[in-house]
Symmetry: C2
Subunit: 232 residues, 2 copies
């Protein structure tokens, strides 16, 4: 059980009041989650410090005191461990999408709001910092960028499947839903880039602001025109 791809998707109903969502699990599960988190944190640190290619899996596993075999029971690849933070967000997006109501909005607006709602739920300690490191690594490392893009693509298709299963979108061969979705992804990526390249310590709130700004620019993209430069 518990294949690498699917994170910890087995949260047991909580007993008391406030819990970090990982408490009250059987000891075994908690231990698993701890090593998983240790791998993510240490990987982000080491990759940032010595570079992605400059860090071997053996070094990472030594640092966390875990066998390489165990690493691959938790993650699909070396790239995978470093992109885990972003994957958390999209997993929640998918969950949100399962229960949201259209309420007269366009698909684009609905997806934007879902994304923002999911972002509001990323309350885990240090999440913003992890996403930041992850993003910067992706920019600097081709293979990580490729992996992230691939994940994005798979997630897009999953989102599209949920849209089609829950909503009436007419002809399944209609190209518009995927165009709208790719627009959402584009806005998200762009917001993330801007957010990550800003100096200082970005917060979840500032990411939300960047997201809103990116979405606001969408309508203008269609009518944008260009003039030949006169200078240079």
């Amino acid at each position: 059980m518990s294949e690498p791809g699917s994170a910890a998707a087995t949260p047991i109903a909580s007993g008391t009041a406030q819990e970090t969502a990982s408490e009250r699990l059987p000891l075994r599960e908690r231990k698993k989650l701890r090593t998983r988190q240790a791998l993510i944190d240490t990987a982000l640190e080491m990759f940032t410090e010595r570079g992605f290619d400059g860090t071997t899996l053996d070094q990472l596993c030594d640092a966390v005191e875990v066998s390489k075999r165990t690493f691959f029971r938790n993650f699909l690849s070396k790239e995978d461990v470093a992109s885990a933070p972003t994957q958390d967000l999209w997993r929640v997006v998918l969950e949100e999408l399962e229960t949201c109501e259209p309420g007269g909005r366009t698909v684009l607006e609905m997806l934007r709001d879902t994304l923002l709602a999911a972002l509001d739920q990323m309350t885990a300690e240090g999440w913003a910092r992890r996403v930041l490191l992850s993003r910067r690594l992706a920019e600097a490392t081709p293979s990580m960028n490729a992996h992230g893009l691939h994940f994005c693509d798979r997630t897009s298709r999953a989102v599209l499947a949920v849209l089609h299963s829950r909503f009436e979108l007419g002809d399944p061969a209609d190209l518009r839903p995927r165009l709208a979705l790719d627009l959402v992804v584009s806005a998200f990526q762009q917001a993330l880039d801007d957010w990550a390249s800003r100096p200082g310590t970005p917060t979840r709130a500032s990411l939300a602001a960047d997201l809103r700004e990116a979405f606001a620019a969408v309508p203008g993209a269609l009518t944008l025109t260009a003039e030949l430069r006169t200078d240079a």
Copy 2:
């Protein structure tokens, strides 16, 4: 000289009339191009036959009678060789973009027309078939899909750079150009998917038709709305 990434970007001015663009090169260059093309063709064949992961580089190199070292002087990775056909198209898109005139069109229209113009230039024998095989492989092989997506991303940025250098697009932090570009990429991918999944033997002309259709759907993507399903 001649790094793996940059294909044959050194076409010498032709002497006589009609030439396949690779003639009249020094013998050495022609030989290089021949082995390169042999690697591409054989790779597409073997990958399609026995699967991408079911074919080792050693097997491919044996079949073409070339050392593995030579393979890596021509291509960046195992994935790279199989996505060469698509890369050819985008290289021409970039060239076209260097000389095109805005002529009152929107950026979106200009990019669409450039893409169609580039497509018109893909006259190499069997190009359509190669793209078809390449695309189907990408759909079936995660690592190839990731590689293709990464290439797309890099190319997008290159296109964006050309746009900014040649045209007056206002604030460089403006988000609209990239949104427009990602829309173009989305339409392209979608057209390619539809084209490749159609039965029979797709042609360049039918790809052009799919492309026009995809672009026609763009404006509707913004205003698309959804109703909750009543069935199921």
